[in-house]
């Protein structure tokens, strides 16, 4: 893991009318590091990711990516960032290859044909290249979205439950690919999941978020014992049910 800070989030806040979705979140991700963002539904994980992606405007705080202020260098930064999310699919009325070509153009990818051919092979979706994306199963569509997420060889990869609709075999393959990619390319990865086994296997560090605040932070293999829990799943349940008691520890 490198020392270069890929992402720096400082005191990030998002308030919708009188509802505080994200409340002063601060963290960073270093080159080659995979950070898990964990928390119950509605904790503020997706809002945090959406703010880093620039599709939700923060109410306060700052986001710096590759050392640059996101608000001032949006387009330049996003050309080296990408994401995959369980709720985001590519348009169903164009084929897999057409979708990948369009997004390759949007991300300024060079040698598009070769890059797409490599990704179709890597994510085992070659046979779907000429199929309209909407005809694919949700697991196949997730793999296509993963391929889209890797198009521009991002230095910051945001993964919002990327394997939620993928079978265990393909999930394992994707986890291995992302781990190898982060280590090889020196990319930072922010990963959310409700699968604690996956988090333990993939993440170097986890952040537990509840009611928009980060409550705990640490190594996913050491953190449960530090809070008197058997495993990460027990710790997750405790965060979800009794966040205040954990915050006091």
């Amino acid at each position: 893991m490198g020392t270069e800070k890929i992402l720096e989030v400082q005191n990030l806040r998002k308030v919708y009318n009188d509802v505080i979705a994200v409340d002063g979140v601060s963290f960073d991700i270093r080159a080659g590091e995979i950070v898990g963002l964990l928390g119950p539904n509605g904790a503020g994980k997706t809002t945090t990711i959406d703010m880093i992606l620039g599709i939700v405007e923060p109410s306060g705080g700052s986001i710096r990516v590759f050392g640059k202020d996101f608000a001032r260098h949006r387009s330049e930064i996003l050309s080296r960032v990408n994401f995959s999310a369980v709720y985001a699919h590519l348009p169903g009325n164009t084929t897999v290859r057409q979708n990948l070509t369009i997004f390759a153009l949007l991300y300024g990818v060079s040698r598009i044909r070769e890059r797409i051919a490599a990704l179709l092979k890597e994510f085992n979706i070659e046979k779907f290249a000429r199929v309209r994306t909407g005809f694919l199963s949700s697991g196949e569509q997730s793999r296509v979205h993963m391929a889209k997420a890797m198009l521009n060889e991002p230095r910051l990869l945001l993964m919002d439950e990327p394997t939620a609709s993928i079978d265990p075999s393909d999930s394992a393959i994707i986890r291995e690919k992302i781990k190898a990619y982060a280590a090889g390319a020196g990319a930072g990865v922010l990963w959310t999941s409700h699968d604690m086994y996956e988090i333990e296997e993939v993440c170097d560090r986890v952040l537990f978020i509840s009611h928009g605040k980060i409550l705990l932070e640490g190594n996913p293999r050491e953190l449960p014992a530090a809070y008197g829990k058997k495993n990460l799943e027990e710790l997750f349940i405790a965060v979800a049910r009794e966040p205040l008691s954990l915050a006091r520890l």
């Binding site: 387009s75 960032v81 009325n93 164009t94 070509t101």
Partner: protein, 265 residues
């Protein structure tokens, strides 16, 4: 260079959609052809029963053809935008380096292609079926088309901004604006046929100046070029205002965080 690639990506996606389904290209011609046929037959009938020197066909068909051209420009922007609403594509698009300006310029390119193809087809149809040539206007067709194109963009961008601001339930705005403008922009009858208070409103519609100009050319062989200048200035001002409103709508969506759940708005 990358900016041009992004504009091309937005344009290319719409072209792929046109190519991918036989009913989509039909949309470019169907309503324009239907309108041309309806007004063509009506004007031939009126010419026959009126028996005067007034040439109804020449007075109406030109404005009908150019009005359908303007509608195609509007839909080139607004219907293309709706494709991204229907396919819930905003998260993918706006988490990429794509800017709002590039997104809209991609739709402008779509409008240029779709409206040119549609105009060419309808002009050919009018010539074959009704022996009417839009090219009798000569070089004046260029400023006529320019004013209608810029105004069509303004209307398309405005409709897009309304849907972006108020959500997919405002989609009917996209389809209803061009037919709503027609009665007030002197497409089918001269401005003088409208009540005085409506004539004042019509003055502020750039298309009115084009259609009045076309009628003047048919009747007298010439037109007051100031009409075209007024129309063009108004169209440019509306285009700037519409883009400003679109930008405000975009900022509002970012603040409210509705890109992620746009379809439920």
């Amino acid at each position: 260079m990358n900016s041009l690639k992004r504009i091309f990506a937005i344009f290319w996606r719409q072209m792929l959609l046109l190519k991918g389904n036989p009913f989509r290209p039909l949309n470019l011609f169907y309503f324009s052809a239907l309108e041309l046929f309806l007004w063509g037959v009506l004007s031939v009938y009126l010419d026959r029963v009126a028996g005067s020197d007034l040439n109804f066909a020449a007075l109406i068909l030109g404005t009908v053809i150019m009005s359908s051209f303007m509608s195609r420009v509007v839909f080139g922007v607004s219907a293309s935008f709706l494709e991204d609403v229907w396919t819930r594509n905003f998260i993918n698009l706006f988490s990429s380096p794509l800017s709002l300006q590039e997104y809209i310029l991609g739709f402008v390119a779509v409008s240029i292609v779709e409206s040119s193809v549609s105009l060419g087809f309808i002009a050919l149809l009018a010539w074959i079926l009704l022996s009417y040539s839009i090219f009798t206007f000569g070089l004046l067709l260029i400023p006529f088309a320019a004013v209608l194109f810029v105004f069509g963009l303004a209307v398309g961008i405005l409709a897009t901004a309304v849907v972006l601001r108020f959500g997919p339930s405002a989609e009917m705005v996209v389809w209803s604006i061009p037919p709503l403008l027609a009665p007030f922009s002197a497409v089918f009858y001269p401005l003088a046929a409208l009540p005085l208070f409506l004539q004042r409103i019509s003055f502020f519609i750039p298309a009115t100046h084009v259609f009045e100009g076309m009628r003047a050319v048919v009747r007298t062989g010439t037109m007051d070029m100031r009409e075209l200048v007024v129309g063009f200035v108004l169209a440019v001002l509306y285009c700037i205002a519409a883009y400003f409103f679109l930008y405000r709508s975009y900022r509002s969506v970012l603040r409210r965080g509705t890109f992620a759940r746009f379809a439920t708005e």
